[in-house]
């Protein structure tokens, strides 16, 4: 077992890659009562075109299948796994994102039993045509619930605008129609391809003894047999740099119009240290341009173009990414134009210097230290970083190295007019009134 000490942060991380390929990380937290564990596969909604394990030809699977599979993992021949966790005093859950499916629990006792339940239920699939059919009604209600949420529609609307071919443009849960095509056989194909231990990470954080826990996990894994690890072949379509749709409006009943400006980054194949540096530098640049101390924010607030819903975010994964800026606003066109104008100005003349960077750097370091109080943040983020070849605990040292030129370089990849798109939601009745 490897032990890495992060003295500045007062944390020690234990790590081992098991024989079957599973990466296990353990982070003890002093003074904590609870233990939080995530068992995550590098498999999300975008992985819909791949060569199934043991086969030669690539297949395409119905939209929403990774999320459907996540739901069905909880049902076993002997019953529902939630029941087992509840008996052991653990709150369990799971989520599916574009790139990951995570199963998790938090508990303040019976940690070994709960770790065993977590490992066993994810490593013992049980799908039948009957249980798959039964789930369709539940997931259809989940999809319908999201369909009624304008903020969710806004988020997916802008991503769909930006991407022409990449499967990130497909809603994670699929559609009520697409999930009707899912069969138990599909689920087994996806499971066998993506749930091999070599494609997964187990992270345990909290009130835990690292030596005992690692031994316990190894014994569990040694009892099971797995096929050899194999490289997974995933197929992604060519994606142009320009956005698919420049502007689109959705009519939906809302209190106030909503608008997002999205920017698609250039160079979406970064991984490891390069990715970490770009991501942090781009985040700092957007914070300076659009954060609460920016000229833009001050101006937009004074003019009443933005309200408390205002947000901006930069997100990058292997193969896709986006910056998103927007708000509920009575003047969506003006706000979108102003955001684009702010970007154009920064491209023309870079407005930030050393003092700006130093202030934002301090802010980011503080945010990171605050986040380290949260076992959930550590486990989820560490896993995301690992899948992209980065280390979460490199954030502070990398931040300390970043220079003004890095911000400018990162921003230059996420700023061209052809990479920008606008998505707006307005009430149908309100539009008529105008």
């Amino acid at each position: 077992m490897h032990k890495v000490e992060f003295e500045q942060l007062d944390e020690t991380l234990y790590h081992e890659k098991l024989e079957n390929g599973l990466e296990v990380f353990i982070l003890p937290k002093k003074g904590f009562s609870k233990t939080f564990a995530t068992f995550t596969t590098k498999y999300g909604s975008i992985d819909n075109h791949f060569v199934p394990r043991g086969e030669k030809d690539a297949i395409k699977v119905p939209d929403g299948i990774a999320h459907f599979l996540e739901h069905k993992m909880f049902e076993k021949e002997e019953g529902d796994i939630f029941q087992q966790f509840s008996k052991q005093g653990a709150s369990a859950n799971a989520y599916t994102s574009f790139t990951r499916t995570a199963y998790l629990f938090s508990a303040t006792g019976q940690i070994n039993e709960n770790i065993e339940t977590l490992l066993d239920f994810v490593q013992e699939p049980y799908f039948t045509e009957q249980t798959v059919e039964k789930e369709k009604g539940i997931i259809a209600q989940e999809i319908t619930m999201y369909d009624d949420q304008p903020d969710w529609r806004l988020y997916f609307g802008i991503i769909e605008n930006m991407y022409k071919n990449h499967p990130v443009k497909i809603d994670i849960a699929g559609t009520v129609d697409s999930i009707q095509d899912i069969t138990a056989e599909h689920l087994y194909t996806c499971y066998n391809t993506f749930y091999h231990p070599s494609n997964m990470v187990l992270f345990v954080v909290g009130a835990v003894d690292p030596d005992g826990m690692m031994k316990f996990i190894k014994e569990n894994q040694d009892r099971k047999t797995f096929e050899d690890a194999q490289e997974i072949e995933r197929i992604f379509p060519e994606e142009p740099l320009e956005v698919a749709v420049k502007e689109r409006v959705l009519n939906m009943s809302v209190q106030k119009p909503k608008v997002f400006v999205g920017i698609k980054p250039e160079k979406m194949d970064l991984q490891g240290d390069e990715m970490l540096k770009h991501e942090l530098a781009a985040e700092l640049a957007f914070e300076l341009l659009f954060g609460r101390t920016s000229d833009f924010y001050h101006h937009a607030y004074e003019k009443n173009w933005i309200d408390e819903s205002y947000s901006f975010d930069y997100s990058l994964e292997n193969g896709f990414g986006y910056a998103i800026i927007g708000s509920d606003t009575a003047e969506p066109e003006t706000l979108a134009a102003e955001i684009k104008h702010t970007i154009a100005n920064a491209v023309e003349k870079w407005p930030f210097g050393q003092a700006d960077l130093d202030r934002m750097r301090r802010k980011k370091i503080g945010f990171f230290l605050r986040a380290l109080n949260s076992p959930e943040y550590i486990a989820n983020q560490f896993t995301r970083y690992t899948f992209n070849g980065m280390n979460l605990f490199d954030v502070v040292p990398t931040l300390e190295e970043i220079e003004v030129a890095d911000l400018q370089a990162a921003f230059s990849l996420v700023s061209a007019e052809s990479q920008q798109s606008v998505f707006t939601i307005v009430s149908p009745d309100k539009k008529e009134a105008q």
Binding site: L9, D10, K30, G31, F32, S33, K34, D80, F82, Q83, S86, K87, Q88, G89, S91, S106, A107, T108, G109, K134, G137, I138, I139, Q141, E142, T144, M145, D147, D148, Q149, P150, D151, G206, M252, S253, V254, Q255, K256, R292, T293, H298, Y301, N304, D307, E308, S309, D328, R359, R362, K363, K364, I365, G366, F367, L369, R370, L372, N373, S374, P375
Partner: protein, 424 residues
């Protein structure tokens, strides 16, 4: 957990000195009686005070100094509990042990002082432009509930079931009440808050209780104050209507049900209600989830919650717009099972295990410690998890059945798509 130091009558400092966290959390809570007018005024006040102050007269200037203090978070919020309205000033700052700089905590305390005592004023009133802007922000915050159909349906049901009752008054008040607030009224409300509200101050982190208490005593100068005498009544009165259906442009049907219970937070039987809620609908092992979601595949979410301050139990479900009747029938059948005492050992044990886990786990965050301690202060001087755990362990299935028998369904509210669209 917390050490309490009294600064004046009605003003206390509670400190939990611990190295569990990398940050220091401080909250100052101002408590007043709840009304729509107070809630609206105090929500605007929270926004105005966190916007800027005499020393940092613009939003940008205040936010810049926070960035410089290693991204210290500082915000005010407006909340309610029972018939009390609470305005909190919350900060979280990095323990400077992890930084190359010292004295961060003093700077943060000074900033809290400026936010509360040196507001941004002109001619004895709040700066008019900021007042108007923040008044509008609170109004829009209330309006935006419409975009979240679950919250909207719950608010509609409460307005219809218990109008003007503390249970239905939102923490931000109402649009009408916000519109009536003038700058003069807001200033009056501000003085009341600072001079006569009860104040509870919390600090969690690697700090000395005396240091925090001394600083606040020396700089904040809080004077003696009394608990408000005439708090609004929380008595539950039968709603005028038992069933209401409303329509909006939407796809899913939102079913909300409200039950009355004679048992509230102040009642000895309060922990029984927590167990009842867990067995009935609080968790993924509960009767509602297992039967309505898993067996019937009718819903993605279906759950119950217990609002202990008022003695209210709610059931919420997202279902197909055509299935209201069936869902209500199935939900009431599950409640019947609880009333009959048909509770398995497994359901009973799981519920106690999860309640215990939830409580212990909440104490692993500084905010959780503050919220729980502040809530239970009324019942016990030094709250420890065992205060509840030992009570849960003494409860029997019969106790739960008895508590269920006392529930009365008072309102069924259903929000769904326009009728014509359902038929289409």
């Amino acid at each position: 957990m917390f050490e309490t130091i009294r600064l004046a009558k009605g003003v206390n400092v509670h400190v939990n000195e611990t190295t569990q966290f990398k940050t220091i959390n401080i909250s100052i809570k101002f408590k007043d009686k709840l009304s729509k007018e107070k809630a609206s005024a105090r929500s605007i006040l929270a926004n105005v005070l966190q916007h800027s102050n005499e020393a940092y007269p613009s939003h940008t200037a205040l936010r810049m100094v926070l960035d410089d203090l290693y991204g210290t978070s500082l915000y005010m919020d407006s909340s309610k509990r029972g018939n009390e309205h609470i305005v909190s000033l919350n900060v979280e700052t990095v323990n400077d042990q992890y930084l190359s700089e010292e004295g961060v905590l003093e700077k943060v305390l000074n900033l809290m002082y400026l936010v509360l005592f040196k507001p941004n004023t002109e001619h004895g009133l709040f700066k008019e432009s900021i007042f108007l802007r923040e008044k509008n922000a609170v109004k829009e915050r209330i309006e935006s509930i419409f975009d979240d159909k679950t919250r909207y349906a719950q608010q509609r049901m409460m307005d219809l079931a218990l109008p003007e009752h503390p249970a239905s008054i939102p923490a931000n008040g109402s649009i009408e009440a916000v519109e009536k607030i003038t700058n003069e009224k807001l200033m009056e409300e501000y003085r009341t808050m600072i001079e006569s509200n009860e104040v509870e101050i919390y600090a969690v982190g690697d700090v000395k209780p005396d240091m925090i208490a001394d600083y606040i005593r020396d700089y904040f100068h809080f004077t003696d104050r009394e608990k408000p005498v005439a708090a609004p009544s929380m008595e539950l009165k039968k709603p005028a209507q038992q069933r209401v259906a409303e329509f909006e442009d939407m796809k899913q049907g939102k079913l909300h049900m409200a039950f009355f219970s004679p048992v509230t937070f102040r009642d000895e039987k309060f922990p029984v209600m927590q167990l009842l809620n867990g067995v009935f609908g609080g968790y993924a092992h509960s009767k509602l989830f297992v039967n309505i979601r898993e067996k019937e595949s009718m819903a993605y979410y279906v759950s119950s919650s217990y609002s202990s301050q008022f003695g209210l139990m709610f059931v919420l479900a997202g279902i197909d717009g055509k299935l209201e009747e069936k869902a209500v029938k199935l939900i009431l059948e599950q409640l019947e099972e609880v009333k009959k005492g048909n509770i398995t050992d497994v359901e009973f044990g799981q519920t106690k295990a999860l309640l215990t886990n939830q409580l212990t786990e909440a104490l692993d965050s500084a905010r959780g410690q503050i919220d729980i301690y502040d809530q239970y202060m009324e019942l016990t001087e030094d709250f420890e998890p065992d205060y509840l755990i030992s009570r849960w362990n003494k409860i029997t299935k019969e106790d739960i059945a008895d508590a269920a028998k006392q529930l009365s369904l008072e309102m069924t509210y259903f929000l769904s798509g326009k009728e014509s669209e359902i038929d289409a």
